[in-house]
Amino acid sequence: MKLSSIVESISLEVKTGKNNLQNDVTGVYISDLLSDVMANSKEGNIWITLQTHLNIVAVAGLKNLSGIIIVGNRQIQQDVLQKAESEKITVMSTPLPAFEVAGKLYQLLNG
């Protein structure tokens, strides 16, 4: 499934990397622990987290993730968005909590 379909179906706000929306999403990984994401996420995964630390951009880049969904209406600091934009990482935002984003994506991708 393309990132753009996911953005549309669960009404995500795209904060950065708007040019990558045609990328394919290979699956979904949820974690707030960066070492966990480094160890267990797969290339092309979309990453759901409430972590907004600057290092999320590096993790997404290193693992070639298709995008980051920041949940729970978390504020994202400007430096994080700037870094994501310059590294061409798609950062999206939603007011929904991680459990519900996962639930909706699971129905969309596996249902």
Partner: protein, 141 residues
């Protein structure tokens, strides 16, 4: 209940094993007094976040609580690095926690906002190089 009930705890920086002990004791005192469950939860959450801040950032600290018939006051003094910019520290998502703390599930930049959100009165003072004092009051009605 006529008198003030008091309690005091020493908190040692870096001691994650005992994290939450002060909050748990305050919680059981409030349960004994028959305080409303939702109010107890607010007090416990605010106290727990305060305890975690001392454990994460400071060398040591002291937590005291005072319960009167109308409210509970929680006061935390620490011997920590102090907070340079309190306004920034109060912003949700802002954190100076090191990576290892984030890997332990803390340092999301929600601690101070959480303490404020759960208190009726919230006051924070800090001197860089000396420490931080937080005072929280939660009313029973």
């Amino acid at each position: 209940m006529d008198e003030t009930i008091e309690g005091s705890f020493q908190i040692i920086g870096g001691n994650f094993a005992n994290a939450g002990e002060a909050s748990m004791q305050l919680k059981s005192k409030l349960v004994e007094l028959g305080i409303d469950e939702a109010i107890i939860r607010r007090a416990a959450i605010a106290t727990f976040e305060a305890e975690m801040n001392v454990i994460i950032y400071a060398a040591a600290g002291r937590l005291q609580y005072y319960i009167t018939p109308h409210e509970v006051t929680i006061k935390i003094d620490d011997m920590g690095p102090g907070i340079e910019n309190i306004e920034l520290a109060m912003q949700e998502g802002y954190s100076t926690a090191p990576d290892w703390v984030r890997e332990m599930g803390w340092g999301a930049g929600m601690g101070l906002p959480n303490m404020k959100k759960n208190s009726d009165e919230f006051k924070i003072d800090s001197v860089v190089g000396e420490g931080t004092t937080v005072k929280m009051i939660i009313h029973f009605s």
